[in-house]
Every structure is written in C-alpha cells, then in structure tokens.
C-alpha cells in the first residue's frame, strides 16, 4: 500500500501539469455547454487541430509563440464553422460538431503531411521561457498555471461585462435575448469559436510539453473534459459566474489526480476510457436513479 501511495505522490506534479493543460479544453467544453446552452463536440477536433498546427509550424522553424497564436485562430475558425452549420442549416449542434470534428481529422493529416512529428529538437514556448529547466514539472505548472489564471480572469471579467452578460442571455433565453436587441447568431458563433480556440490552445501547449505531435492525440478528450467539468461543478457549484468559470480548472485538477490514483492502484490503461465513460454515465444517471435528486434539473440539461 505504501509504495502505491509513494508512486502516486511522485506523480502528483506531472499530473497537475497535465491537468492544467487539459483545463483549457474543459473551459472550452464548459462555455458552449453551460453559458450558451449549445452542446458542442468540436473540442474533440479542435484540440488535435491546435496541436497539429502548432507542432507543424514549430517543426518548420516558426516562433513557438506565433505558432500558438495561429493554432488559436484555427481553433476559433473551427468553432465558428460548427456554430454556423447549426445556425444556417438548422443541423443539430451535436451533429454539426461531429461533422466538423470528422472533417478536421483529414485537415489535420493534410497540415502535418504525416501522422507524427517529433518536436524534441525544437525550441518551444517552455524552452524559451525556462531554458534548460523547461522539462521540470513545477516549471510547466507555473507557466501553464499563470496562463490559465489569466484566461479564467479574463473570462470572469468578460461574463460580467455588458457584452458578456448579453452572451449569457443568449444561452439562458434566446427569445428574450433577441427581444433585448442581442444578435443571437453572432453571439453564438463568437462563443463557440472562442471555446474551440481554448481547446486548440490546450492542444498547442500539450504538443510542446510532450515533445511530439500525433494526429490521433486527444482521442476521447471531450469525455475527459466533460467528466472533469461535472466533478468541478460538484465541488464549486454553479450559482455564480465565478464558480462556473472556476469549475473547469478545479474539476480538471481533481479528475486527473483521480485517474492517476486509479492507474497506480492497478487500473489497466486500456480500461481507462471505459471507466471514464461509465463515470460520466453514472453522474448523469444518478439523479434519475434516486428519482428525487436536488440536481435533477441541472443534469437534465446535459442529457438533452
């Protein structure tokens, strides 16, 4: 037992670093889902898109910061596409997301030109900022943590600004928002776009920490993000906008520690996706099993 705890303890910093990167994706899952009431799957494609774009550019000798910026813009466009498909052609949001995600796989392959690019020999954002200590977990935590704090702070401010309040109104009641002079279409496109930009940013940071790009990276990232979001919301609640934007970060950190703990306990990595899926299913089903759960209404929203 003790050696299990020791190895779990030893993994904590690595896991925190990873969970902070995935927190971008969880924020990207939360925004359409909770703020816009637009269940969106684009993240699953935007995350590898961000990685592929950023990795390919870095391998071509482009400045890593610029590469991250381009990845962000590409993610934004992917999200806009999903929202546009839904709004213009009245295609279900989930189906629109799946379409974009599927098409992105080919685009990612085209961008990379092959399935895998190693990045170990290139400068990354981390080597530029931290030099030789770039691979130390605490350094990664510091850099990514600062960035995620900045993003959360910006989101918090935005959602309390005039524009952000109107974006939240679009999710809360589209008819009301329109009657108050809010352009529902533009707000939806921008919101889903920003969400995918966040997921793409997560992907671009991920490839720089792991040292390679793979076209299959992030398979199942959406369900991980969803699980993290649900855990985060169970901890922070969602009564205020502060709690709602904190939930993804808190949830991501807790969720990945749980996974790490399960793995050190002996859960086979092959079973991980099943375990995650079963967990999300359980969380969604729980209120119905209990019949009179206090969280029923909140969770019903997800199932729709």
């Amino acid at each position: 037992m003790l050696d299990i705890l020791t190895s779990f303890y030893g993994l904590i910093p690595v896991t925190i670093a990873q969970s902070l990167i995935v927190a971008f994706v969880v924020l990207g899952v939360m925004l359409p889902f909770r703020i816009l009431n637009f269940p969106d799957l684009t993240s699953e494609g935007a995350f590898p898109l961000g990685g592929c774009v950023c990795g390919t550019l870095i391998s071509m000798g482009v400045n890593p910061f610029l590469a991250c910026g381009v990845a962000l813009v590409c993610g934004f466009l992917a999200g806009c596409t999903t929202a546009f498909i839904h709004l213009r052609f009245k295609i279900n949001t989930l189906l629109a997301g799946i379409l974009v995600m599927t098409m992105l796989y080919s685009i990612n392959l085209r961008i990379m030109g092959r399935t895998n690019i190693p990045l170990f020999t290139y400068d990354t954002v981390f080597t530029i900022l931290a030099g030789p200590s770039a691979n130390v977990s605490w350094v990664k935590i510091l850099i990514v943590g600062a960035l995620i704090a900045l993003v959360v702070g910006l989101m918090l401010y935005f959602f309390m600004s005039e524009k952000g309040t109107s974006m939240r109104a679009v999710g809360a009641s589209p008819d009301m928002a329109e009657a108050q002079g809010i352009n529902v279409g533009i707000a939806t496109i921008m919101g889903v776009g920003v969400a995918s930009a966040l997921s793409a940013t997560g992907g671009s940071i991920m490839v720089q920490t792991q040292g390679f790009v793979d076209v299959n990276m992030g398979f199942g990232i959406l369900i991980n993000g969803l699980a993290a979001l649900i855990i985060g919301e169970a901890i922070t609640g969602r009564q205020t906008i502060l709690r709602q934007v904190m939930a993804p970060v808190v949830g991501s950190i807790v969720y990945y520690q749980l996974i790490s703990f399960c793995l050190t306990l002996g859960l086979a990595p092959a079973d991980l996706k099943f375990a995650t899926g079963a967990f999300v299913l359980l969380m969604l089903a729980l209120p119905n099993l209990r019949k009179s759960g206090s969280g029923t209404q909140i969770r019903e929203k997800i199932r729709e």
Partner: protein
Amino acid sequence: MTTNMLAVTGGTKIFYRGTLDERRALDGLNIALKPADFCIVIGSNGAGKSSFLNAVSGKLPLDAGRITIDGQDVTKLNAHRRAQFIARVFQDPMIGTAPTMTIGENMLLAELRGKPRGFSYGLTAPRKAKYREQLAELNLGLENRLDMPVGLLSGGQRQSLSLVMAVSTRPKLLLLDEHTAALDPRTAKLVMDTTVRAVEELKLTTLMVTHNMEHAIKYGNKIVMMDAGKVLLEIGQEEKRGITVPDLIDRFHTKSDAIALQGS
C-alpha cells in the same frame, strides 16, 4: 397632423404558400397608431393577433407590405435591430426574462436594449441604485433581491419584472402579448394596474393583445378587432365609451357572421 408612431400597410404573411395547407396569417393588414395610443387587439384564436405582433417585432418577416415606426421604415430590419424601438412582454413569464441570470443582470440586459454593448463592467453601482429605484415602484420587494436568479421568482413577480424591464427604457412601441393571461386573477390585476400606470405616465404607444373583453373595454383608447389576418373593426375613443362586453361580443359575432355569409 402628427406622424404615426406605428403604421402597418398591406401587411401580408402567408404560411405554406402554394401547398394545400396554405394559410394567410396576415392578409393585407392596415393599422396606424398615433403617439401615446393604447390600442387593444382582440380576435378569436387564429385571427392573426400573434402574427401581427410578431410581424411588428420583426420575429416574423412580412411577405408583402410595409411597417414604419415613428416614420422610419423598419420592414427589412431583423428583430434584434428593431429592439431599439420596441419593448415586448410575452405571455409566458419564462420567455420574457433570463431565468438563470439575476434580477440585476436582467435589468441590465433591458437597459442596453438596442444600444451598443461594450466591454466595460456591466452591473456598476450607479446602475444597481437606479434598478433598485425602478423596482421599488412595484412594491414587491424585488429591489432588495438584485442578486437573486429570476428563476426563483413567482410567475407574477417575473411578469412584473418583465414589465419594468420593458417600460424603463421608454420604448417607442410597447408590445404586450396577453401578458396577464398566465397569471391568477389577483396577480393579473396587479400586473395590469402597473401596466396602465406606466403606459399613462410615460405616454407609451402600446399594442396589447388580450382575450379578456373586460380589459379591452376598461383599458386603452382604441380597440382593434382582427379576423382572418385583417382588421375587422376599429373602435375609437369616442365610440369606446359606454360600450359593454355583450355589445363587443355581439359586434364581433355580427361581423364574423357577415364574413362567413359573404364567403359562402
């Protein structure tokens, strides 16, 4: 002669055009309202009352005809663009407000209706003070609950809030779509009294759809009776005095029967 605050000329909207289900929701509708007119719209189900309101608000684009508000042609403007002129209270208290957002945030959304929204902080202290003042007039205690989500309010409280949100910006046109129909009689009266007070105080040009004949007689200075997407009958201020509910129902039937006879 003053310009009309609202003028609909030849307003036509046809659903399922060219199919067996073709239905003329609005059929050459003509209506004009002077500033500060308080016009009550009545008519049976399917007469086109809701289509009329939706056409004015921009939710339902017209197939033919023209709509002007205060002399400005708005026929081609989207609903969210027209919101700078129009405030609306819906029948369903759940639609008119954003349930998961707080009372203060809902007031903010209404205050910025039709205005550019920037990146500056939304619910500032001066704004909150102003909202408290506006809500205090309702005597519902909402002014002390600015941070409460609107979803926790009762239907009557939400509808009262919707009303304050609608009138506080002094819109050129106020649309009331059976806004007391979903409320119990006592609450309905409360909301109706608040409506009348606000409309008279602020001299708002108002269109109110109702099925309540007593309301139609008691309130407003003009009654418009609709049938089959047209104005069947207009009753002005002079004529409206002394009219009774049976009168109104009587006229309604005579007119519809006449139409029915013509058709056969």
